[in-house]
Amino acid sequence: MTRSTVDAAPPPVSPPTEGRRRGVRRWHVAGALLLLLTASLASLFIGVSDLSPLDLLEPDEGQVRVFLVSRVPRLAAILLAGSAMAVAGLVMMSLTRNRFVSPQTAGTTEWVGLGIVVATLWFGGTSLIGKMAIATVFALVGTFFFVWLLRRIVLTDMIVVPLVGILLGGVVLAATMFLAYRFDLLQSLDAWMNGDFSGVLAGRYELLYLVLAATVVAYLYADRFSVAGMGESFAVNLGIAYTRVVTVGLVISSVVTAIVVVSVGSIPFLGLVVPNLVTLAMGDNLRRVLPVTALTGAAFVLVCDVLGRTIRAPYEIPVGTIGGVIGGVLFIALLLRARTKGAS
């Protein structure tokens, strides 16, 4: 990644601030955990069929079934998807040294969509695993293509990078929609792509546990990602196998994106906003930031999901829609803030 944008761009973190030490105290984490726990409980006991915590003391058979088949899997899926997508965004942001790069702004999500359609059309992709494998291949191709494109076009402005990614995603999406249109899949495409946990039931989401493995790998590699994020020459000087580390990072984020999108759909801005907020508060040491990012990501999705289920109960608003609105507002705030700071 020599001479690229990526090296030219200013480092994503501001240097250690003078005077006031920024950092997250222990009680911040405790607070976040508490919030997550509360929201988790809320998530377990919200739904069409009534189920209160008291019922669990003396449950009847139906209630147990609802709890174990629907509520618990749903919560697990939310936590897994939210934390993994946030971590994937953090890894990409750190590797490209650009705080506006994430699976959603690099077009990875749209490549997954293309993969899903291709799998459905030409590989008789009925099995979830097969679909996931093909979607992963597409995500990998797309992500590496994006990084390759970035290296070829020496851009000085770090805003251009996500812009190119978003538009590239738009082009891929158009191709996907064309295929879907041609073969009458438009409606299912919409259902696949928009993040939605309403279909999560026991037996239908377990592949999501794979992202847990990816997140663990990300954690093990965290220090190497941090160093790689300082630029190729710097990393090589420190004895890091730069290319390999970058490859591992991109593979992790592609695989996570593919699995999450295939299982529950895309949650806009998640991989972008959460890592940004966390690194703004905590700085850039990946090993330190990563667990909090995972926590915050899970909490973000959980809150969106609970909102989606309560705003218009008994109907449900997909989490992707809620996330799109909240995430969009947050992203615009971040963007304006970054620019004002950069200008002054």
Binding site: V160, I166, L167, G170, F178, G324, I332, R339
Partner: protein, 332 residues
């Protein structure tokens, strides 16, 4: 970048004008040809019926093409940039959002009972007002930073879509059906009354713009130059933005968002005509837009047997062109 280096024959102003005129004539012929082909190719059965249906669709396409082309060129002039378009800034999605919110707050019954012309007027006013307010607050501070503008626009557009979806989920499912009819009008199902009204509105706006042309050329030179040359920059910009809002509203109301059409035709027109003068670029872009819409639809229908995938194709091609433009944009 065509720069007349030490070339032996620098064309005179006269020669260039002749060439541009010739280009416009060729475009016009092509556009008329595409229209004629669209009206007649592959008609089976009743000619009267086919012609009536098809001419309505062609008329809708022509109105939309002119609206999109003119609004894009104007928008690029006042923002002084050739990669911005109102659609990329999320204007069309904002319009859809306003319509959805209207149904949500007033109820589908009230909305459909209103005279479509009144409804349209209200929507345009809301779009202009709200858009001006929003974009002013967001962009006031970062006036010259194009990339932030574009990114903000893209994100805003995505957010408007999410909001539209959110509001439409809040709407009673029965009312949602009405809304869908309102929102997802395509070239095939354009309301005749609305079409006539839109044609009149677009015609009026284009006439108004025509009188602005010389001043627009000056505004295109940049704010300081324009002020130095004695043009009321702010007034012209405001008028142009008003025209843009109306045109976008018309185009979106007729057929829904077509994001990249304007970008394609505005840049292509400048390239083909080799000038930035509005008197040339505006008709060129409009003709190109007609050609793209009618010709594209013709090819899709007659060659590939598709009905309404044109906007998808335009987004595909347009996205690639946009990336190329971004990458080639000279940097300070």
């Amino acid at each position: 970048m065509t720069r007349p280096l030490a070339g032996p024959a620098v064309p005179t102003a006269q020669e260039r004008a002749t060439r541009r005129r010739r280009t416009l004539v060729v475009l016009a012929v092509l556009a008329v040809g595409a229209t004629a082909a669209f009206l007649t190719v592959g008609v089976t059965g009743s000619w009267d019926y086919a012609l009536m249906m098809r001419s309505r669709r062609v008329a809708a396409m022509a109105v939309v093409a002119v609206a999109v082309a003119v609004s894009t060129v104007l928008f690029q002039t006042v923002t002084n940039n050739r990669i911005l378009t109102p659609e990329i800034m999320g204007f069309d999605r904002l319009f859809v959002l306003i319509q959805t919110a209207g149904v949500f707050f007033l109820g589908a019954g009230a909305v459909t009972a209103t005279d479509p012309r009144l409804r349209f007027a209200v929507e345009v006013v809301a779009l202009v007002g709200f858009g001006a307010l929003l974009y002013k607050t967001l962009f006031g501070r970062t006036e010259r930073d194009v990339y932030v503008l574009v990114l903000l626009g893209v994100v805003l557009g995505a957010m408007f879509s999410s909001l539209t979806l959110l509001v439409s989920r809040l709407i009673d499912p029965n009312e949602f059906l009405t809304l869908q009819d309102l929102l997802f009008a395509s070239f095939n199902t354009v309301d005749q009354q609305l079409l006539a009204l839109s044609a009149v509105v677009v015609g009026a706006v284009v006439l108004g713009v025509y009188r602005l042309l010389p001043r627009l050329d000056v505004v295109a030179l940049g704010r300081d130059t324009a002020l130095g040359l004695g043009v009321e920059h702010r007034r012209v910009v405001n008028l142009a933005l008003l025209a843009v809002a109306v045109l976008v509203a018309v185009a979106t109301a007729l057929v829904g968002p077509v994001t990249f059409l304007g970008l394609l035709v505005a840049n292509l027109a400048r390239q083909l005509l080799g000038t930035h003068r509005h008197a040339w670029v505006l008709p060129g872009a409009a003709l190109l837009a007609v050609l793209a819409l009618v010709g594209g639809q013709l090819v899709l229908e007659q060659v590939f047997g598709f009905n309404s995938a044109l906007s998808i194709v335009i987004n595909f091609v347009g996205g690639i062109v946009f990336i190329a433009l971004l990458v080639r944009e000279p940097r300070q």
